[in-house]
């Protein structure tokens, strides 16, 4: 009501005072919103761009690893139980490597250069028993290394942690590099974020036949299981892996001690509709004559899967232990009290029945709130747990074996038996192959890690936020691929690949945070002290009383609460006050009459400004304090001005986009609307004016654009680097660009584009380029490739040697070598040039040879030659000598090639508008304006109508205004109301002020005739990216050349100088056209013609006897009926292969 009055007062004012007040009133909220933006850089300062990875890893090394070690802290000998080893503490040291007994500190860059793993030792403190037989003593040992843990860059264990820009550059590291990946054997590996369905939560859905089912994926430290309760033909059954068939749920309940049907009905709820649904199941139970717990257990016993090697056969024990440990494993059973489990089943059934009665109650598997993201920390902890347990088992086995021996020579020391290699090797192997094979948890996943994409800076960032899907890509379902409304603000709506993984692979939005696990104990006791009635104390009847809500904590039913809203508010207040973790979510589900509290890891959440009755808690003075540096983002969080909401809790919030939209009931206000996009989509100017697929295309292309990779790009030794000679920052920027420092490591150039038709070489998205622009450096790029050589040491003590080139002989080939036998930096390297003159010893095995030098004759040459296309002139850029893991001398060469754009190179604007260079035209032929402006490239206007990339047009306008007034213009997504995007209207005003037409069109003269063009031409700067696809790497043609040995057909593929295939469809065309001789020529003469001797009598192939000069049939043993004919060699091969399989193909010849 108050607001309304204000409104009307304002309206009156408006009418009285005319326009003056209007301007003020409009300006005020805009100003407010602009200021809120400053939270974002502050947020990213504390968070970084890959906080989710870092947090997860930090949690693992700080907490999780300790828990794992604590849970498996004892190794006891089975032979002598008094001999034991106990882990007291575990910690991760600083990354270092022991070389020849000397500990050497590692830096990430050093690891990249010399192919090492960036790993730190895992130290444990142990307590153990020494001595043998009689005399035993307890001993302590500190800092025993049990293995080496790969360290995530920029995590708390990394040497880069907390360093400033200058220190980072001193370590050879790019200050803008986000970290969040590992360096394994010199390659950078990132563990992709894995999308999973929530663990330990009831999910109601329908199976293929339309049967409603409730399923729970239980996951505890001890076991993992899947429990499904399904309604089939009106009866309810339990599906569990341990039972061979489905089991009636009523029998299961009876087996758990719920003998009374009435209690079951009460627990589900006394609503007659539910009872009706339950009735067939109860009847079924009676039909089976199961009335007591004993009978139920008897019944279930028959259903238990028979394990092939079960020796001890305890009857009730088996079923009960299944019910206790596997069935709904997440619900703990204390002292054989199955009641919580029964209630859990009842709640599952109740929800299932709700879903049957009302289809809306069905859970959506694609709902982001039902998903969890698994991050590197969790993945590593799984792996570590397995390896640690394996190591302990191994240790126990060896201890037992030693103890079993009657006579032990040396003093027994248990600490000697910890093998540290298994953990190191296991971690390293999994990270470098990406295969997570953990038998203990029945986990076999492939492709978990990927090599960090270093094609462009933005590609690297995009790779860190990539989420790999739970399903295999082949599934032809649309549901998981569709854009989910709950993705808002959490996952980027634009950034997804095209093709098979479309919609399955996603990317995080700019402000998304992924939670880590939080301690449950204090939270549970807090719930109880806030008035939750314990489940143990409730009867079935009381469970679903109309005025009470169930409290469910991390999927576990704690009890009920009579005033759920008040409870939730109290919890939230505590969270805002910082008394409980900021990522704990409290979600009141009115429909299910439940309050869900979640503190588990892997939930996605994002920060929002808290509003009280629609009034933002952040006031102007807060923002001023932030600007003055008195405040940080964390202080906003601590003072309860901002909070993190996860997807579920968002359902309880009413979130206003802007403060001026806030109404009475508004609880939160967005920080900035453009943060719903991710890092990669954030580069697009005015994305909200584009057709949405265009933004998706750009997201894929932005990662292929050349530019600067990192500040240390010239020190890196990647296998392939593409760099731009003169990269620029875009004239039309966005806030995201500034936040992620794309303006410092850009990947493109601002080209003056004229949108017009020119020359006909611009059809189908081809662009016409200005030769003078290319001369001056537009689109010029550097391609660097790595070649490496290893000077190997052999087991017999010999080693490779690199020798001085002999300039007398083969001078042509070794001219680029220095006297040390390696190619000299700065030399032009051509095809067939030797870049390392290496020799290997002839004998590399056998006994160790004396150190004395071998004679020259004992070596064979193993020089390496450069293989590149003819006519290209690359240059040796750098030569790096380092020692690799096996302490061999490793020599790496970087070969650099500078390229200017040529016809066929691929370019793209930031709006998914890619095109190849169609022709290159002299500047004097290019159109010009009377100001002397001449475009750098010409784009065909046909690119616009069907693509509807209005954003590109606005980019052109904005850039044009930007260059003329000297201010970078902005085009952030949805930025017009908050001032993060310049409006077309103001841009036009700027244009007019600087003497251009408001619509961005110019009066242009033809460069060829000098006459004015018929139309005004839309012309101005657009940021263009050069994509990595260049003709030079792709063009291919061949005449005669290599053939495949087995079929004698030409090889395939450019790399093998292969032929161009006439495929099935091409063949069809030629047949239809009737060009039989052409087919004959293509498929036979130019492929694999072969002359064979065919026996007319037996129809088999013979051979030509050169002595007798006749063909002879080897089957008929004579040469009487031999004809000579031509055949594709592959055909002859087929006949022979068939014969080898006991099938006789016979040729019947007739006269042609």
């Amino acid at each position: 009501m108050v607001v309304k009055e204000d409104d009307s007062a304002l309206f009156n004012d408006l009418q009285e005072n005319g326009l003056d007040i209007d301007k003020q009133a409009l300006a005020a909220p805009v100003k407010n919103a602009v200021e809120k933006f400053h939270l974002l850089p502050e947020f990213l300062k504390v968070r970084g761009l890959v906080k989710q990875h870092l947090d997860s890893f930090n949690y693992f090394v700080r907490t999780q690893i300790k828990k794992i070690v604590q849970a498996n802290d004892l190794i006891t000998s089975r032979i002598d139980p008094s001999i034991y080893l106990r882990y007291k503490d575990v910690r991760i040291g600083t990354p270092s490597l022991v070389i020849d007994g000397v500990t050497e500190k590692l830096s990430p860059h050093k690891c990249r250069i010399s192919d090492l793993t960036y790993a730190a030792p895992i130290y444990v403190n142990i307590e153990y028993i020494t001595g043998s037989h009689g005399s035993k003593a307890t001993q302590m040992k500190r800092d025993v290394i049990i293995g080496r843990m790969p360290i995530m860059l920029r995590s708390c264990c990394c040497i880069l942690y907390g360093k400033d820009e200058e220190e980072l550059s001193r370590d050879g590291e790019c200050p803008l590099d986000p970290g969040g990946y590992f360096v394994i054997k010199g390659t950078e590996k990132v563990i992709l974020i894995q999308e999973q369905l929530s663990k330990n939560r009831i999910i109601i859905d329908a199976d293929k036949k339309g049967c409603v089912q409730a399923s729970v994926m239980s996951s505890t430290e001890a076991t993992k299981s899947k429990t499904v309760i399904r309604m089939e033909k009106e009866k309810i059954y339990l599906y569990l892996n341990q039972f061979a068939t489905k089991v009636p749920i009523m029998i299961v309940l009876k087996a758990m001690g719920m003998e009374s049907d009435q209690e079951v009905v009460q627990m589900i709820g006394r609503d007659p509709r539910y009872s009706e649904l339950l009735l067939p199941s109860i009847e079924d139970c009676v039909k089976e004559a199961v009335h007591t717990q004993y009978q139920a257990l008897e019944f279930l016993e028959q259903k238990v899967k028979k394990l092939p090697y079960s020796t001890t056969y305890e009857k009730e024990g088996r079923v009960l232990s299944i019910l206790r440990d596997t069935f709904l494993a997440n619900v703990p059973v204390r002292q054989n009290n199955f009641r919580p489990k029964c209630i859990y089943v009842a709640v599952m059934m109740r929800r299932m029945m709700e879903a049957i009665l009302n289809k809306d109650a069905m859970d959506d598997k694609d709902y982001v709130g039902n998903k969890r993201l698994e991050l590197s920390g969790q993945m590593l902890s799984l792996l570590f747990e397995d390896l640690f347990k394996t190591m302990n088992d191994e240790a126990r086995k060896t201890i037992d074996m030693t103890l079993a021996k009657a006579h032990r020579s040396s003093r027994f020391d248990i600490s000697q038996y910890i093998v540290k290699d298994s953990i190191t090797v296991g971690l390293e192997r999994s990270l470098s192959t990406g295969n997570w094979d953990v038998k203990r948890f029945r986990m076999h996943r492939k492709g978990m890690t990927q090599v960090v994409a270093r094609l462009s800076y933005i590609g690297t960032l995009g790779h860190m936020t990539k989420i790999s899907p739970q399903f295999e890509k082949s599934r032809k379902v649309s549901g998981p691929r569709a854009l989910q409304p709950s993705q808002w603000g959490m996952l980027c709506p634009c950034d997804t690949p095209e093709g098979e993984a479309c919609g399955l692979v996603k990317n995080l939005a700019l402000m998304t945070h992924v939670t880590t696990d939080e301690d449950e104990g204090p939270l549970i006791s807090l719930c109880f002290s806030l008035g939750v009635e314990d489940l143990e104390l409730l009867s079935g009847e009381e469970l679903h009383m109309p005025n009470s809500y169930l409290i469910i904590f991390n999927g576990l039913i704690l009890g009920k609460h009579r005033r759920p809203q008040k409870f939730a508010n109290a919890m939230r207040k505590l969270r805002r006050a910082g008394k409980i973790g900021e990522f704990v979510s409290i979600f009141v589900n009115e429909k299910q009459r439940c309050v869900y509290i979640a503190s588990d890891g892997g939930r996605v959440c994002r920060p929002l400004v808290i509003a009280d009755k629609g009034v933002s808690r952040i006031k102007e003075h807060h923002m001023k304090e932030l600007k003055d540096g008195v405040r940080t983002f964390d202080s906003f969080l601590k003072e309860g001005l901002i909070e993190y909401l996860d997807v579920n809790e968002e359902n309880n919030a009413l979130i206003a986009l802007y403060e001026e939209n806030a109404k009475e009931g508004t609880t939160h206000i967005e920080i900035e609307p453009f943060t719903i996009l991710g890092v990669v989509a954030g580069l697009i100017p005015y994305p909200h004016h584009n057709q949405s697929p265009r933004n998706t295309y750009q997201c894929a292309m932005g990662k292929q654009a050349m530019g600067n990779i990192a500040y240390n790009q010239l020190c890196r030794m990647d296998t392939l680097i593409y760099l731009l000679v003169y990269p620029q920052r875009p004239l039309l920027t966005t806030r995201t660009i500034e936040l992620v420092s794309y303006d410092k490591l850009g990947a493109g150039q601002n080209a003056t584009v004229a949108v017009m038709s020119y020359s006909g070489y611009d059809i189908e998205d081809a662009i016409v380029m200005n030769k003078s622009s290319l001369d001056r450096g537009f689109g010029r790029c550097i391609v660097m490739k790595k070649m490496s050589a290893v000077s190997q040491k052999y087991e017999n003590g010999t080693s490779d040697r690199i020798i001085r080139p002999d300039r007398g002989n083969d001078a042509e080939q070794v001219q680029i070598l220095d006297d040390d036998g390696l190619a000299a930096p700065g030399q032009i390297i051509r095809n067939m040039d030797v870049y390392i003159k290496k020799q290997s010893p002839k004998i590399t095995r056998g006994p160790v040879q004396p150190r004395a030098d071998l004679a020259d004759s004992a070596y064979t040459s193993s020089k390496q030659t450069y293989k590149g296309p003819e006519g290209e002139t690359p240059v040796v850029d750098r030569v790096v000598l380092s020692s690799d893991r096996n302490n061999n001398l490793c020599i790496k060469f970087m070969i650099r090639h500078t390229r200017r754009p040529e016809v066929g190179d691929k370019f793209s604007s930031r709006h998914g508008q890619k095109g190849v260079c169609g022709t290159i035209v002299q500047q004097e032929d290019f159109p010009f304006s009377e100001r002397g402006i001449c475009p750098d490239l010409i784009m065909n206007p046909h690119g616009f109508p069907s693509r509807m990339t209005v954003g590109k047009m606005i980019e052109l306008l904005g850039s044009k205004a930007g260059v003329s007034c000297g201010r970078f213009h902005y085009g952030s997504a949805f930025g017009e109301p908050s001032g993060h995007a310049d409006k077309v209207e103001t841009i036009s005003e700027t244009l007019v002020k600087h003497g251009f037409s408001y619509n961005g069109k110019d009066f242009i003269y033809s460069g060829i005739t000098g006459e004015p063009l018929q139309a005004y031409i839309f012309m101005g700067p657009i940021y263009y990216q050069k994509l990595k696809h260049m003709v030079l790497d792709k063009m291919h043609a061949r005449g005669s050349g290599p053939r495949v040995m087995i079929t004698r057909q030409p090889t395939e593929g450019r790399s093998r100088n292969g032929g161009l295939k006439v495929g099935e469809m091409e063949r069809d065309c030629l047949i239809a056209y009737g060009a039989s001789m052409l087919i004959y020529e293509r498929l036979m003469i130019s492929s694999d013609p072969f002359e064979v001797q065919v026996c007319r009598k037996c129809g088999l192939l013979g051979y030509y006897n050169f002595k007798l000069k006749t063909g002879i049939c080897s089957t008929c043993k004579n040469g009487e009926n031999i004809s000579t004919m031509k055949l594709p060699y592959a055909c002859k091969l087929l006949f022979q292969e068939l014969q080898s399989m006991n099938i006789i193909p016979r040729l019947k010849l007739t006269e042609a």
């Binding site: 001369d775 240059v875 002397g932 110019d1002 009066f1003």
Partner: protein, 319 residues
């Protein structure tokens, strides 16, 4: 055909001439001549630019090709260029382009020895010929101090980095590479002819007149403060954007102004890179254009013409 002469006598009126800028009118000719002049100025007037670089030492952050490319784009004073020989048809050096007739040698040697970054600029290039040096802009209009004017930056060096090279500059034309183009901007426009229908204009109120004047993005019209009459402030500021015509239409006064492009007079704007003076560029362009025409005329009926001009040659012979 015979006897009819299409000969015209174009007139040139120079408006402004500075070292690197010139504005002139070209009258009584047509677009083909004007455009030919423009094209020659951009692409065919020779200058001298660095064409071959031998790097002796380079420990800078930029690689050899990068530096060579940057060196090539530095404008060199090229008054001598017209008289010089192209290295490809120089008899004195068999076309390898290393003699006094066709090339100029430059040396550059720089090393940073202190903690401050050292800017290596065009001023560090030492020429073997004092007439061919990197272009200097002493009379920078911004009024910058000469001490600040350090020339064109080639590369920046930090402590310990070194650059040493030998470069050979040669004569060339913009057609081959933009570095040889002496023109920064060469452009022309048709001279607009604006006619104000005073009678109709007087029917407008002052407000409307103001609106009309402001409708043009460039300042073409203005209002006389005393007489309140609309007058042509600067006809050449008109960019043929039709805005005023549309405005007149919108005001319901079509024909308020009439604007035509004078098809036979052009206003040229020439700006050079500093390699040669703007006036010299224009003269050289005319010289080259003449040579080209001579080549056509002299070989009009020879076999060479066929080779050189293809069908065009035969066409010319045939009349």
């Amino acid at each position: 055909m015979e006897g009819v002469s299409y000969q015209r006598f174009p007139k040139i009126k120079i408006r402004t001439v500075r070292d690197d800028f010139m504005k002139f009118e070209l009258r009584e000719t047509d677009a083909s001549i004007a455009n030919a002049l423009r094209r020659v100025m951009i692409a065919e007037v020779p200058t001298i630019a660095i064409d071959l670089v031998e790097i002796e030492v380079n420990s800078s952050v930029l690689n050899d090709e990068f530096i060579a490319h940057r060196l090539g784009l530095i404008p060199l004073t090229s008054e001598r260029a017209m008289a010089m020989r192209f290295s490809r048809d120089c008899d004195a050096c068999d076309g390898d382009g290393q003699c006094e007739y066709c090339s100029v040698e430059f040396h550059l040697r720089a090393k940073c020895i202190n903690d401050q970054t050292l800017d290596v600029t065009s001023k560090d290039l030492y020429s073997s010929d004092h007439t061919v040096v990197p272009v200097d802009f002493p009379d920078s209009s911004t009024g910058l101090d000469n001490a600040d004017n350090r020339g064109i930056i080639i590369v920046k060096l930090r402590r310990g980095q070194e650059l040493g090279l030998r470069a050979i500059a040669r004569k060339g034309i913009g057609k081959d590479h933009a570095k040889w183009s002496p023109a920064a901007t060469v452009t022309f426009m048709y001279e607009p002819e604006i006619y104000i229908n005073e009678e109709l204009m007087e029917t407008l109120t002052l407000e409307e007149k103001k609106e009309f004047v402001e409708s043009s993005p460039t300042k073409v019209f203005d209002i006389n403060a005393n007489t309140q009459q609309v007058y042509i402030y600067d006809a050449e500021a008109y960019t043929y954007d039709d805005e005023v015509l549309k405005k007149a239409e919108a005001m319901g006064k079509p024909g308020l102004v009439e604007i035509h492009a004078k098809e036979d007079s052009f206003i040229f704007t020439v700006e050079t890179t500093g390699a040669i003076k703007a006036s010299q560029l224009f003269l050289n362009a005319i010289e080259i254009l003449k040579q080209k025409l001579d080549a056509v005329r002299l070989s009009a009926d020879t076999v060479e013409a066929d080779e050189q001009f293809g069908e065009l040659g035969a066409h010319m012979r045939g009349g």
